[in-house]
Subunit: 95 residues, 10 copies
Amino acid sequence: MLFHVRIDVHVPLNTDPEKLKDLSAREHERAKELQLQGKWTHLWRVAGKYSNISIFDVEDPAELHDTLSSLPLNPFMEVEVTALCKHPGSLELNK
Amino acid sequence: MLFHVRIDVHVPLNTDPEKLKDLSAREHERAKELQLQGKWTHLWRVAGKYSNISIFDVEDPAELHDTLSSLPLNPFMEVEVTALCKHPGSLELNK
Amino acid sequence: MLFHVRIDVHVPLNTDPEKLKDLSAREHERAKELQLQGKWTHLWRVAGKYSNISIFDVEDPAELHDTLSSLPLNPFMEVEVTALCKHPGSLELNK
Amino acid sequence: MLFHVRIDVHVPLNTDPEKLKDLSAREHERAKELQLQGKWTHLWRVAGKYSNISIFDVEDPAELHDTLSSLPLNPFMEVEVTALCKHPGSLELNK
Amino acid sequence: MLFHVRIDVHVPLNTDPEKLKDLSAREHERAKELQLQGKWTHLWRVAGKYSNISIFDVEDPAELHDTLSSLPLNPFMEVEVTALCKHPGSLELNK
Amino acid sequence: MLFHVRIDVHVPLNTDPEKLKDLSAREHERAKELQLQGKWTHLWRVAGKYSNISIFDVEDPAELHDTLSSLPLNPFMEVEVTALCKHPGSLELNK
Amino acid sequence: MLFHVRIDVHVPLNTDPEKLKDLSAREHERAKELQLQGKWTHLWRVAGKYSNISIFDVEDPAELHDTLSSLPLNPFMEVEVTALCKHPGSLELNK
Amino acid sequence: MLFHVRIDVHVPLNTDPEKLKDLSAREHERAKELQLQGKWTHLWRVAGKYSNISIFDVEDPAELHDTLSSLPLNPFMEVEVTALCKHPGSLELNK
Amino acid sequence: MLFHVRIDVHVPLNTDPEKLKDLSAREHERAKELQLQGKWTHLWRVAGKYSNISIFDVEDPAELHDTLSSLPLNPFMEVEVTALCKHPGSLELNK
Amino acid sequence: MLFHVRIDVHVPLNTDPEKLKDLSAREHERAKELQLQGKWTHLWRVAGKYSNISIFDVEDPAELHDTLSSLPLNPFMEVEVTALCKHPGSLELNK
């Protein structure tokens, strides 16, 4: 089941740089893991912003919620979810 | 170059059904063509709405504009474009 | 899988009353059918507006889309979908 | 009398984790209590967000206000209330 | 039970003046009736706009819905409902 | 002269409870005073929110401004003013 | 009593040019009249738009409403009213 | 050249009262100066809010920017600028 | 004097194609003229939309208004104007 | 490839003035550099606001992102990107 997720990250200006570095490193690890599991199928950066647009392929909304909650940067994220379905005009040439 | 495009289609209620059917058929043809050319890499439907979310892989904004303008249903479309770039955390396992 | 759906109905003022009556009757029939199938589990009217708030229990976003598209009044509907999941604090005393 | 309530919870990043844990535990207790009393008839989580959508069955707007005010996490909540009424097309198969 | 109702009236420019005059006359009759029944307790015009702000005192949201639906100008109305309750600081000197 | 005033109160989470208690007590006193003077003719709470909707009957916008500025909780208030006038359809049965 | 009024004029594209010309001429006449009476003290055009910003000096909101309603182009106007009062820092060098 | 400027002032709740008093006194001085120079031709308070609406008569946008930047309370101001021009229907009876 | 102008063009779907073609040709002519006069210094298309972003270099807001009003497609345009000034960090290498 | 970038700068009120001075000086240096490299082709200030509107001429969205991220004041910036293309009516008299 596919979900389109837009994430805008708002890190408070006074965040400890070491803590942020650590969180970001752990975020990369977790993102890698979820991609290798086939759950986070696409991840793009929005040009000019600390935002990304992703496609998640999960069992159901509950798995989506748990997946997003497991991200180390989650407390800084503003998340917008859109449920997707196959488009009749799509050839699905790419995953 | 990747662009994220959200399209909301607003067909006036009094549109001639035959005309709409014809436009939709030509839209499918054109969409197929652009997918086979590798320019329209992803096309998903937004659940519950006459809307879709797509990824286009084009040379530049001008090609994106020409591509979108070539769609038969374009006069009914409300289009929102977001420029994307590779995310440092993406493994790019899928195209 | 549960989806929260808000529907605002916008019937053009010049709609033929007979046609609208017919569409509304068919809408009621279809709504009844979907409720008996256990797919449209809740349907409430928003006080003071031609709007309703519903809960749908479907297989996936595609079934939600097909279900909403099958509603006779669909061309007049503005639809907003929100994916739901079980809340850890819910006792789920009611369906 | 039914009210649809959307609650978005905004916990400040610097909240003491112990205090938050305590408030959340008390929130669960209170939510349980209100569900058993038949006043909080539905409670769903919005996928991907620290938000929930609920249906409350109360005597009047004053009881709704008191009920929401009694929630331990209330100071962190942004609340949106919508008055509902029975929909003529609802079979009311579920409570 | 009190509800605050903001109504913005949008009459299409091409509405037949005779029909509008008739609807307005019937609207005044109905408004008078509802005020005498004690259901429409306050009715003010928003300066500069074809809008009004009202307080309705009804049994429940369903009666509010029926009352608003019974207004002859209802098809032209955009309605926004807010549920009210007694304010602890109000002396309730006026009805 | 009547003005419709919507007030949303935003008290910072770290406000000293004693100070807030004191301000609220003084707010009640001032509200009582203004009601007895016939300047604050209606005061309702918005169900589920720390917000109220009021009608003020004052000499002119300057008196409205001074009245609102005299409220002890004013620094926490977001205020929206709408100028009202008698509605031709109002019987003015209530003040 | 001063009111700030922003008016955006939306003339339907299919309006009869003769009718519009006539309405505009009458609008100018009425505007002249109201200025000479000292009720419409300022009238500026918003650069690039069919919009204007005005100051009206009237007895009360009812007179403002009647004044705006008397404008021949009123049916095409979207009106936003803001109640003004003397600013303590204003020297009031100009009317 | 005329510009319409709406200013909303947001003073943080924890601002030192002495500092604010001093800034406000200097703001009044500067406002007086600019009015006497004929650059700040109108200044009105928005009833009920810490906001004002002004007309500035300056050489060009750069002078407007410098003028607004010279206001002691500027760091607390949210500013919205609208370029004005003479309205063909204005008699310009007042400056 | 520089103004930033965003123009969104909304051509009604039922516009006569010949009339639109004619208007567009005249629009191009007028745009060419204004560019050669040095008044319309920049003109870019927004990718994917029937919108453009321009810089105008004119005497004052009145000339901007007259210039925009002289565009043949003006009745279809939604225009948003922003007054610009030289940025202290700009080297002004390009006009 | 051209991008239109609107930047609104939000400097927290409690920022150390020395630090801000330093960041601003470095921002000017970096802006100069990018202009001399031909990547930041236009930079204008929005009159009355701490905002600017720019045109960037870069290889692709990734270079735009890196360029904006390299600005010393970037952590205080709210950035909005719009992809541009050549307008068929533009004579491109200016760069």
